[in-house]
């Protein structure tokens, strides 16, 4: 059983990595890997392989739902990357703004203004990152 399990778990992991790549998120959650490889495996394999990879709702809709839930909770970290993957999955900047307005009315104006701040910060940082990339310089995100 152990063997069958680990074989299957590595497949979950592969499925998860495929989803992460489609979303441009393959280089995230590495601090989980550094702290606990099993935790990282669970995040990639279960959360991305088994949950995000489920049929029944498009990846774009899952991203919309996740963005809404995260803006709602207004946690200090964890949402910056979702603005980037949202745009990668075809959700426009205008639509992201409308999500903020919609969630802001269901979870409070400070969730809207916190989201504006986070979205503005990550768009700024993306500019810096691209500039560093063009100059061939290394770049380390302060937000992701």
């Amino acid at each position: 059983m152990k063997k069958a399990k680990s074989r299957d778990y590595s497949r979950r992991f592969e499925r998860g990595m495929r989803v992460l790549k489609r979303m441009g998120r393959q280089n995230l959650m590495l601090n989980q890997n550094a702290l606990s490889p099993e935790m990282y495996e669970m995040s990639v394999g279960h959360l991305f392989g088994d949950v995000w990879g489920r049929p029944g709702l498009s990846l774009r809709d899952r991203q919309l739902v996740t963005l809404a839930a995260n803006i709602a909770m207004a946690r200090p970290t964890g949402n910056h990357s979702h603005y980037l993957s949202a745009m990668r999955l075809g959700i426009t900047k205008r639509q992201i703004i409308e999500v903020m307005i919609q969630v802001g009315h269901y979870c409070g104006w400070p969730t809207l203004s916190n989201a504006v701040r986070q979205f503005t910060d990550i768009l700024e940082e993306e500019k810096e990152r691209k500039k560093a990339q063009r100059a061939g310089k290394p770049f380390r995100s302060r937000l992701l």
Copy 2:
């Protein structure tokens, strides 16, 4: 100014009522009207007329986003009606289940199980309501 304002506010209200009707929500929030007509006017006119009625995101997507934010917050009331309007706007039962699973992973398993309970309860009540309707009997929701 006062007059112009109230004229415009009644138009906001009309816009809001049109959105509410498309969503099958025109008979909700009446306890707000009983407690404070101005509060009700603000809910219809601002929340539904000016926010839900905005362009830039489809009504279906706004509903998906609202469902996600409300499942995330797991508040004791206020979400039952959104399962009904979601189905009215073409979000399938399967998609609602996937929203629960997705949000459950971003906001905790109890938000998933609370949503299952609420969705199951409202589907039950809808059956009762239709039965009462066929029998020509009055029906008062315990959930909405």
Copy 3:
């Protein structure tokens, strides 16, 4: 030391009961007493005696602040009684409605509608309670 402490703690308790009486809350939290007398003593002595009884902010302002924080959190229980003590401390029905609108914009429309529901329910129950009282019948709250 033990003795001095228990003497002082009973004074805290007395101070707390005096505050509770001014607020009309002296018959609440009895299920805490049934489960754990020490927990009840801490609620009366510390929360009401040492916190609500502090100078520096009027009892009316403490109630306004508490009402706002509780409406914000939208927990399933614990807020019904605060609408009653608020009115006892001179906060008008109109002011309570304005608190709901204000908090609703900072914590989301469902916190407003949940508060409307709770306030409406407790006002209903108060009518029932008074009716039972006039008829000399016992009355047991379902909400407090």
Copy 4:
């Protein structure tokens, strides 16, 4: 792969059911099964088989942690059953009361009083259930 996966998933499910039985929770989450068998499988297999079943923290400590997190969130449903499984796993009534006091100071007094209410309600219901059992009558929980 599909086959290997489903084989392994049924083992996850078995592992999960074993954990659930040790906790006396094997008859819960059945409304998930009624709504979506896949969701139920994920709850049993992933949450109980793969998470609760992990080494590194005792079942008793996982229950303590879960009780604390759930009391903290004060969601309307989902916590009643954890008081029962906590007692099953050897956490005493006194310790549960201390968890309430501890969490109440980190998440607010209403989380304490909400927990007292839920714990009192489930202890009441357990008495009813045992009485019904002795009388050979069916019993349906209103809380679980």
Copy 5:
């Protein structure tokens, strides 16, 4: 209708700006304007013009209520500015401290200590800002 509406909306905006000026908040939310002028218009016109500008509760009481709700939610951003506008509206430092203690008991000690940190930080920054102002140097807030 369009015309009447936009006319009225600019009046809402003017009303909102008047409230913002009384509170010393007229230079805030500019990142909303940069991202989406319509969002900014809604924040100024609806939140400040139509909500904060309502009769029925004094501006000081609305600020007290908002401070309480925001301390309760302990969101990462959005509250620093409210300590400043509170003092501008006549709420004393001592009263702000009492609000923290009161909310801390209803929403958890970490909401108190988070508020202490935010209040201390903004008071520090105000000193820096005044110093820069006296020296005729530009100053950009890291907190607002």
Copy 6:
């Protein structure tokens, strides 16, 4: 009475300081002291002296419960220090990781990843602190 009270309160304070020292937390909450000595006295005397110092649950279990509640709430500040005191009280790094995984499933994956970030940051900072200490240099925490 006044005198008896202040005598007892200083004993509460002493009890609280003893608990804080066992947890290695005696140099925290000093910004509370700077802002309001009475608030600091309440934090030390009530929270640590009267709550953490209670019998009925071991200090290690209170820490586990507090860690869980704080990870659950994902507030921007206030949790970094609890990872340190947890390790001081004998909770291992592995157990802390398991608490994160457990809470992450009850309160959402972003609470897990926020906790990973905070735990990683404080472990980094501890290394810096020790390095500074060895070099005889002063060190000021950015996190505590």
